[in-house]
Symmetry: C2
């Protein structure tokens, strides 16, 4: 107790994990299989290899290996920005006057501004290794597009990014960063795909959605020689790659003889929370002492707290396989006043199953003005201007720390500061000038999305 815990716990380069942790190998109940959209049968390697790189398909379907070795070349690229620091939030604790000990794993210290680079590097590496020419993807808030363009520039891969049209208009600088790394941006919906042309003919003024951008990117990948599709969240392989966050966080906490009572992460598609909780979830699944896990989502896009646990398409165009997950329906769109990311209609099948089975203890939905209030409080005390997404976790962390203040409990809280908000200043401007508003969908709003979830008699 006498030894002062430093502000930043930094591991050495050798302590970067040598293997990713595959939580599926430990899950008591695996998530339901992904289904082929035509046959409604579980997808096979053969079904997926036209869409994804071969090695990534293997990872996607791997339920058996607890650890999958990280190739040396990927680890070398990780060394550009990893190990990522674990911070003790002394200044925030003091400002709150809480007895809680607050830690955060900071994944925003690279130019992509988020944890997304952890999976982008892996996916680009395997694409290059397979001899591909390039990859396609979609991006909403832009963090994934940036991460992938960076990774592709390292490996000399072509990169086409379908960017939700409204984002490409509202975030010209984010677009410029992506282009600086050599990727090509296509605002979605676009006239470069059948799906995009159909969306435009139905609604010429469409500002796009993540689901549509996914459909376009997949269509181009499967129809272009030497290309595959890559995705920054939701997939099993992404949670696998993101496990480096939790493995490092646990190792750093062990160095200072700490272990979290609560782990808090924002959840959109699930890549951040899935990564952060990985090593701690391993403890839970092994029956050991483990933290209380809280998934935080926007009240305006509440897939875990108000969605259905059902088979649904992963995209708006209904070209992707079906996944059993918490979903608001592939046609669901968060309201136009929704700032930042966390706007996906579904949730990672792994996270969905863990939540369904009670291994993730709680999901909590928070409104965006309260999120930006927490973000500003964090910035002014801890210095780092957080991403809107990560600020959902900050909101709940502050709430939990204030509960500790009331009860006098000195709980140890770990949250994921998954990214910075440097390219989200429009949202901060709205908060600063008081024009930001909240929106909670009505039950009728949600019902419209639920109505679009496919009815699959006999499949559960």
């Amino acid at each position: 107790m006498s030894k002062k815990i430093p502000y930043r716990v930094v591991l050495s380069e050798e302590e970067i994990p040598k293997a990713w942790y595959n939580v599926r190998a430990d899950m008591k109940t695996d998530h339901r299989p992904i289904l082929h959209p035509g046959t409604l049968q579980p997808v096979t390697e053969a079904d997926l290899t036209p869409v994804f790189c071969e090695e990534l398909v293997k990872q996607e379907l791997n339920v058996k290996d607890r650890f999958i070795e990280i190739p040396g070349e990927i680890r070398d690229y990780y060394k550009m920005y990893r190990p990522a620091p674990l911070f003790r939030a002394y200044f925030l604790e003091k400002a709150l006057g809480t007895p809680a000990k607050i830690y955060y794993k900071y994944e925003g210290g690279n130019t992509s501004g988020s944890h997304k680079l952890n999976s982008a590097l892996a996916q680009a590496y395997y694409a290059k290794k397979q001899g591909l020419k390039g990859v396609t993807t979609e991006t909403g808030a832009g963090q994934w597009g940036t991460a992938l363009s960076m990774a592709c520039s390292y490996f000399g891969l072509d990169c086409k990014v379908y960017m939700v049209k409204i984002s490409s208009q509202q975030k010209p600088y984010r677009k410029a960063v992506i282009e600086t790394y050599g990727a090509k941006i296509i605002p979605s919906p676009s006239d470069t795909t059948n799906i995009g042309r159909k969306m435009l003919s139905d609604n010429p003024d469409s500002t796009g959605s993540l689901g549509t951008a996914i459909s376009e990117a997949v269509e181009v990948a499967v129809s272009t020689e030497g290309y595959r599709y890559v995705l920054g969240s939701v997939l099993n392989q992404v949670l696998l790659h993101q496990s480096v966050i939790g493995l490092e966080a646990k190792a750093a906490m062990e160095k200072i003889d700490e272990y979290p009572d609560i782990v808090i992460g924002c959840a959109g598609g699930g890549s951040n929370l899935g990564g952060l909780m990985s090593a701690f979830m391993a403890d839970r699944l092994a029956g050991k002492t483990a933290p209380y896990f809280i998934a935080v989502e926007p009240a305006s896009c509440p897939s875990l707290t108000r969605g259905k646990f059902a088979y649904d398409f992963c995209d708006t165009g209904m070209v992707t396989p079906l996944a059993k997950m918490y979903t608001l329906g592939a046609s669901f769109l968060p309201p136009s006043n929704h700032a930042g990311g966390l706007r996906y209609h579904g949730m990672s099948p792994i996270l969905s199953q863990l939540y369904h089975d009670g291994y993730i203890d709680e999901a909590r939905a928070v409104e965006q003005t309260s999120v930006f209030k927490a973000a500003t409080e964090f910035a002014k005390t801890e210095g780092i201007l957080p991403a809107p997404e990560s600020s959902h976790a900050i909101r709940v962390t502050i709430d939990e720390a204030l509960k500790c203040k009331e009860t006098g409990e000195a709980k140890t809280i770990l949250f994921g500061l998954s990214g910075t908000g440097y390219f989200d200043m429009t949202a901060y401007m709205q908060y600063n000038d008081g024009t930001m508003t909240d929106y909670i969908p009505t039950d009728a709003d949600l019902q419209r999305g639920f109505d679009a979830i496919p009815k699959l008699p006999g499949i559960q």
Copy 2:
């Protein structure tokens, strides 16, 4: 030689310097004294205390103490983002095919996006300690304004930032970051000061200059109860605070048994290069083996390479004291196509004297398209999107590394990556789309600035 040098050398928290290094105590010839603009006599503590905080005035005039202790509270705030990492640029070396060993000290990993926070924290601390209500300052590219607004939010100080009008228009997001930390931005020239009103009546369409913004900020500081003025570069106190960069860089290199043959830094007002070279310049001044120092500046604002070494005002309004420095004249403005910072007409008196006396070996002016070419090459290989300012150092580093490739010499190069370019994407967009241009002032252009340098008979 067998032990592999890591990609990042990170010191421990205890290794953050406990004292700043004051190079003036070691200089063979001190810089000529700063002169009071009214009396033309060397300024005294009493002259400066209405403008600057008392403790900072003492630091400004201190020629005797080699080391000045860093107060514990400042060191605690340094721990938010320090020690800053020293990187080995393995990926850039490989891309260039050079035998040179390239290192860079990365100071952009905090939300201000630059090294400026090192001095902002110190200046805000001393202002608070003196019981002041607030501080005023100016900002051009916006890095200093961001750093100061952050530091003031930590200490609960009011902060008024005079931002060059063209910058406040071109960088709404930079403005939004500064406002998120609670500072007030006033586009300069403004109608809040006598100088500003005069500038506007002479030229209502003025887009402002750093020199004018300084005049305005000083005027407000000296005429408002409980306020003082703070400055992010040029001053002796700023170079003192920035010495943490060089002290850490040297300590990190010692850990891996390295010592630079060449130290390269960009120089606008001098805060970055002054900081980076500090501990190495101490070696030079002590007659030990020392690096070859290169100061890099924009060809469009060439104070060291083409300026006069003369007494001049530090601001356009001619309200500040006079400093003996390399100057283009207080009325000099870089051309409108000049992107990024490094646009100040003068140069730190300390750096000016060291350059004049041959302790800084070389100043080199580079054109901005070649700078952005280097910046893009760096981003695509090393990952970090560099600030336009820092990219001047990258340009020369690449040039020197390519010379090594020709000669086969394995020189050890250290450069300062003083900041990130996340809020400078307009300039990157111009480079990406081919609309960026270069401009080298003609001798006649420069003569107009030189004509404004005051004639001071009998003073040298």
